[in-house]
């Protein structure tokens, strides 16, 4: 049996994907970027810079881990940016009044998980297209956060543990990076090795077949929405720790960066296809570009332009590659 050769050749099995063309191209792009930038600016490889890149990656990677699962089930969540801002404000407010990191964290997770649950219920029960449903939620959250607070919720608690959440280190590694790594690993293992992960792919590939097989497809989608929400909760708390305040204006456009990273990583908006490893590469590519723009002293506003080009280009390359494989 020629299973192994087939698996690595093209099969869209999860195992095959790791070695599949998409990730390879992305890996090459990442390597090329790193080499190019480091030639132009040798300080790229300094420890401080690498840690800075990783720290910038962490927020996006945390939410992108949830979003990858969600997009694999063929749904999407545009409300994560608005939720990120709101959750930071709520978390900070609870911290200020209770002086307990645990309670603040809990409030943030409860809120963002609740947003995910709401999105999930609207999509699975009311059958509203998730793009539209989450645009609706996004508007509600954007309006809601201003009703909650007109200005930034300042940090009055001065809890060291809270400050560490964003700015602390374990050894040489920043806490957010550790959190992101943990979440990534858990999500990666879930998607690759567990029945739950397999069911998420299955739901994205054919929801009716999954339901006929005696599985609760709606719960699976709901799960992905809630996980995405919880990831936003963690990211929101880290962000407010980094900014030392809950900012109602934070997170603008964040949802687009996250989705860009996931799609760049080869996850299909049609569902059933994608991998977290790709998402990791996607996040790294976007953030290395960001970093390059900064250390090369280019106009920082390029940070918006470049991801736009990259996401279109990457998708286009994916199409060309698929065509080449079919013909």
């Amino acid at each position: 049996m020629s299973e192994l050769t087939h698996a690595s050749a093209r099969g869209r099995s999860i195992g095959g994907q790791l070695l599949g063309g998409g990730q390879l191209v992305l890996g090459v792009i990442l390597a090329a970027l790193c080499i190019a930038i480091s030639i132009a600016a040798p300080q790229f490889y300094s420890e401080a810079n690498i840690i800075a890149i990783l720290r910038q990656c962490s927020l996006v990677l945390i939410v992108a881990s949830g979003m990858t699962m969600l997009i694999i089930t063929a749904e999407v969540d545009l409300s994560v940016g608005a939720s990120l801002a709101f959750v930071g404000c709520i978390g900070m407010a609870v911290l200020n009044s209770t002086h307990s990191l645990a309670l603040g964290m809990l409030a943030a997770l409860a809120f963002s998980g609740g947003v995910g649950l709401f999105n999930g219920l609207v999509v699975t029960r009311l059958r509203v297209n998730s793009l539209i449903a989450t645009i609706g939620t996004m508007m509600m959250l954007q309006g809601g956060v201003y009703l909650f607070t007109r200005e930034a919720v300042q940090n009055h608690n001065q809890l060291a543990s809270f400050t560490d959440l964003g700015a602390g280190y374990v050894g040489a590694v920043p806490v957010p990076v550790i959190l992101a790594a943990l979440i990534f690993v858990v999500a990666y293992v879930t998607l690759r090795f567990t029945t739950l992960g397999r069911y998420l792919y299955a739901v994205g590939a054919n929801e009716k077949a999954v339901r006929l097989s005696g599985l609760r497809s709606e719960r699976l989608k709901l799960f992905a929405f809630v996980v995405t929400g919880l990831c936003v909760g963690i990211a929101g708390m880290i962000l407010s720790s980094l900014m030392n305040a809950g900012q109602p204006t934070a997170g603008r456009g964040f949802e687009l960066t996250v989705i860009a990273a996931v799609i760049l990583g080869g996850t299909s908006l049609l569902g059933g296809r994608g991998s977290l490893f790709g998402t990791l590469l996607g996040v790294l590519v976007l953030k290395v570009i960001d970093n390059g723009i900064i250390i090369l002293g280019w106009n920082q506003d390029l940070q918006m332009v470049v991801p736009g080009i990259v996401i279109i280009l990457a998708t286009y390359l994916d199409i060309i590659r698929n065509k080449a494989n079919v013909r």
Binding site: I132, M139, L302
Partner: protein, 331 residues
């Protein structure tokens, strides 16, 4: 031909109008309810001045909504229109400041819009990239481009041409804002195109079932391509009016505008799935949301409530529509 004539007498006249009559009637009833409610609860709501003001405010989403609805009907999405609004204001203001000519400014702005439409349309229709991704990408690129050019500051309109300013506060017969007149003219023109020109019907066919359209001998690609160009040009027109209103080109112009327009379009019964909906529905969707937010402001609610309520209405409207559709299939 005798048989034919009896048959046509039996057939009810306007084809799609008949199909979507109920949807649009429902929306119209909603609009009337909104108007009636606020007329009673808000002083001066039902005055010519206020109504025409709202109409003026509605003109931007109405104009851009035409393009958005047409792209939706063709089975694609365009979420780059908000960034487009900000982008085309740059060449418009710069050229007007340099040349003191509205015509040149508008011409260059339209040229920019055309280029963006061509890019969106080409990448979607010919390169085959998912339109959500394409317009997400161009949205980033354009918004970033504006930031790159302006930094954080606005570029003011130094030319202050009367004709340009009239776009923001001029009124036809001193009653109807010019922007609303432009919106109505465009709405009628494109409404006619969608219902009574072969090209309009091709858009419905392509969005309704791409494979069928192909088998009927249509080339799907140019149809979609042109839809994106229409959308970009209409967003350009909206952007010109917006620039006249704010009197400058600035990087924050049209932020989240695309979501407002998408929301109103969907509320108006235009389906993301393609091939379903009408411009009349879209227009009613825009008006409902505009009058609602105007009325809520009249009631003294903070403006943020409008966002919250709009969000809820959109979810509720689509959920209701979906429930209705499922019942229809089930029954």
């Amino acid at each position: 031909m005798s048989l034919a004539s009896t048959a046509s007498a039996k057939a009810e006249p306007p084809m799609l109008a008949r199909l979507f009559a109920r949807q649009e009637v429902a929306l119209l009833v909603c609009l009337i309810l909104v108007l009636a409610f606020f007329s009673v609860t808000v002083e001066n709501f039902f005055s010519v001045r206020n109504l025409t003001n709202v109409l003026g405010q509605a003109s931007l989403p109405l104009i851009a909504g035409i393009g958005c609805a047409i792209v939706f009907i063709s089975g694609e999405v365009d979420i780059s229109i908000g960034s487009l609004l900000a982008t085309i204001a740059l060449p418009l203001i710069i050229v007007m400041n340099d040349t003191n000519s509205l015509l040149l400014g508008v011409g260059v702005a339209l040229l920019f819009g055309l280029i963006i439409g061509v890019v969106n349309g080409y990448l979607t229709a010919y390169a085959g990239i998912n339109s959500l991704i394409v317009t997400l990408g161009t949205m980033f690129i354009m918004r970033g481009g504006v930031y790159l050019y302006t930094g954080q500051r606005a570029i003011p309109d130094d030319a202050s041409l009367d004709s340009f300013i009239a776009l923001s506060d001029g009124r036809l017969f001193n009653i109807i804002p010019y922007s609303a007149v432009i919106a109505i003219v465009l709405l009628v023109a494109f409404g006619y195109m969608m219902q009574h020109r072969p090209f309009g019907r091709q858009i419905y066919a392509v969005g309704g079932n791409q494979e069928v359209a192909r088998l009927a001998g249509y080339d799907v690609r140019p149809v979609k391509f042109i839809c994106f160009i229409i959308s970009a040009l209409l967003a350009t027109v909206a952007g010109i009016i917006l620039a006249a209103r704010v009197g400058s080109a600035q990087h924050t112009a049209g932020l989240n505008f695309e979501f407002q327009v998408v929301a109103a379009t969907v509320l108006g019964g235009v389906s993301l799935a393609g091939g379903i909906g009408s411009l009349t529905g879209m227009a009613l969707g825009v008006l409902i949301l505009q009058f609602l937010s105007n009325g809520l402001r009249g009631l003294g609610l903070p403006t943020e409530w409008q966002l919250v309520i709009t969000g809820m209405i959109i979810i509720a409207a689509v959920a209701f529509d979906e429930a209705k559709r499922r019942r229809a299939i089930g029954g």
